[in-house]
Symmetry: C2
Subunit: 414 residues, 2 copies
């Protein structure tokens, strides 16, 4: 039941996806990777060969495509015979790539929400502005689309589902994302700085008391005492998964907390207050029109360049509170990943690793039929157990603390 | 003995210069102002008329000129009959404007050192790289050129000369520049951000033990307990006047100290460490070549926009130590200026005021013959007393503390 794969994008996450597809090409078949810049795809292929990552002999090919051009993507799907498209390109290409999948019948998997370059932080639920508008069309055409199948969103949605399935009622879902690693640079973002900063410049939406509420970045923070990484400060942030989990668990409060050190906050605050994170063009004294955020991106380290020196661990998990048999219960479902181990295996840092492994697991579940939904789904709408089983084997084991943070610690299936 | 004046530049300092020339047009004659952007000159003329600043009826006219084009400046000098050029344009135009003066015989006055846009912080003495190379030519042609006749450089050079004249031997000259005012913005520079930041990104040169020594910005700081503004922290910085005073008082240590708050230092440090203060172009992901510093300049408030809300005072002075009749002596020679008073008088903030009044005083001394040197001079090479007498009347009174900081406080001529 081979399902040839086309990977869209050639950044740090795409490299992880390529390696993991190669390691599982007995399940996934031919592997194609395409981006605007052919040489970036070719560089990724070289790292796959250097690590001897191909499980068995097979096709591994690079292509050039403008992912904003839906017809070009559709043509490439047909040319490559791809049956599954893993879109880890820029957040601006989701809808054109999805349209190409709907047109050709290929399954679509992505790891982050669609964004319009000209807009920051649209009204919630974010999926309702773009992706969900195509749900009926996917159903009609029998096209599988798995939305937000990275780590967060993605695995954390499955964490929430896993905990919720063990409760009669879910009261709250708090997703906590801590990167306790160190890249050794003065300042860097772990993802494309443009996307990274866009996440934090707008309104922070969260779901509480069955309604959308608003706060602003760094206004709501608390300390979390987490496994392995210890006590860390995290702040409420806007994040994709809040928008689908709120729809699927409308009675629960849903919040996302991102860990930030004081240094990150200081740099971010300076840049934001000066207007340097703006996506709106300014005019220099010389009459050149420039988008400040794109200049900030240009001076920051390329996130993929951080990998060789990145050390330390990440801890990402869901604290889920609810009621079972009339009693309050809590579980913390989580994963700990290591930057150096990620680099040793696939040449990427841990943040790219955690984002890039899950969509490959999702693709394997689509290939096996277990997640071949023939419609559009967010990850929490799919059975989490086969997903965790694959992730355990692929390097991202799921653990649980029973009774909440600091409770009995065990593997999810122990 | 009228000497028609041509002002080059149309920024905040140029506005002060225009007002002060107008207030003294009985001495200075016709007043012309020219810059790349005619409308900026016209706006300044409007403020002069609004304040009824013209002492007597006379010519006040705006012109467009590219000050990088020496022949164009020379043509404008001839066309306007200007006998004194006050150059308060960008630091990049000094040499082309000076060349035009040498060609036409007009006297030249500026307030800051020449800079090459492509270079930051050249080897000391800075004047030796550009201006002083033209000294012999000025002498030969009998052209007066008064270099660095703003406040610092400028008045502080005269402060040093005034103190030195009362000593048998000068041991040290420490120039301290404190702006204890508040503009109410998150962050702003008081001068063109491009020039302001360029001052602080390079090596800090100072003169000690009869040789050039080096430190870096914010590496050497100390608290100063000053008149009116109180205790303030200032840091050794590179500054023009160190380079001429070291040549004229080679046996004295010469240092410059600039006051900075922790917030300024934090913003500056973030921008510098990220590479956003670089004058070297970077390439965005979209292939646009951009100079980061020019984008920072574009997002920061226009310094001239700060004036209406600026409150508080500046204190700039020289602590001069030496020996007189075998005994150690110290004097602090200084001025205190007020932002709001400056705005009320000429519509500019205090920093522009302190920089813009002195070159007009210098022009009046050139007109009167007292400073008509017929060669190139730095301010400390001229008699400071008529300069102070004019500055007292023009809004920048000179005071002295005898015995050093905190000593008996009196007017310079009391």
């Amino acid at each position: 039941m081979k399902r040839n794969v086309l990977i869209i994008g050639a950044g740090g996450v795409a490299q992880v996806v390529a390696h993991k597809c190669a390691q599982n090409n007995d399940v996934l078949g031919d592997i194609h990777i395409a981006s605007r810049t052919l040489s970036k795809c070719e560089s990724i292929l070289e790292t796959v060969h250097a690590k001897r990552a191909m499980k068995q002999e097979g096709v591994l090919a690079a292509h050039q495509v403008d992912a904003m051009d839906s017809a070009a993507v559709a043509a490439l799907i047909r040319e490559t015979g791809a049956q599954i498209v893993i879109n880890v390109g820029s957040a601006f290409v989701n809808m054109t790539v999805m349209d190409a999948c709907i047109e050709t019948g290929a399954a679509y998997i992505d790891t982050a929400i669609h964004e319009d370059p000209a807009k920051i932080c649209e009204i919630p639920p974010w999926y309702g502005n773009y992706e969900w508008k195509k749900r009926d069309l996917c159903t009609e055409k029998g096209v599988t689309a798995i939305l937000g199948a990275g780590f967060d969103p993605g695995v954390v949605n499955a964490f929430a589902r896993f905990a919720a399935d063990q409760m009669d009622e879910v009261k709250s879902i708090d997703i906590v994302d801590i990167n306790a690693g160190s890249h050794g640079k003065y300042f860097a973002t772990n993802f494309d700085p443009e996307i990274n900063f866009r996440e934090f410049t707008g309104t922070v939406y969260y779901w509480e008391d069955q309604q959308w509420k608003e706060t602003s970045m760094f206004a709501s923070g608390r300390e979390w005492d987490l496994p392995v990484v210890g006590t860390q400060k995290a702040y409420q942030s806007g994040h994709d998964e809040v928008h689908s989990l709120a729809a699927n668990y409308p009675k629960a409060d849903v919040r996302f907390w991102m860990g930030f050190g004081d240094h990150y906050i200081n740099v971010f605050t300076v840049l934001k207050n000066l207007g340097l994170l703006s996506e709106k063009p300014v005019m220099t004294a010389e009459g050149q029109e420039v988008v400040p955020l794109k200049v900030v991106k240009a001076v920051l380290p390329d996130p993929s360049s951080l990998a060789p020196d990145y050390t330390g661990k990440t801890c990402i998990g869901d604290l889920v509170k609810g009621v079972k048999d009339g009693k309050d219960i809590e579980m913390f479902v989580y994963n700990v990943a290591d930057h150096k181990e990620a680099f040793d295996e696939v040449g990427s840092q841990g943040i790219s690793y955690t984002a890039g492994v899950p969509p490959v697991a999702a693709a394997m579940l689509v290939a096996s039929g277990e997640w071949d939904a023939k419609t559009m789904k967010n990850v929490e709408e799919m059975d989490p157990k086969p997903f965790f089983t694959l992730l355990d084997k692929m390097g991202l084991p799921t653990r649980v603390q029973i009774g909440g943070l600091g409770g009995e610690d065990k593997a999810w299936d122990a």
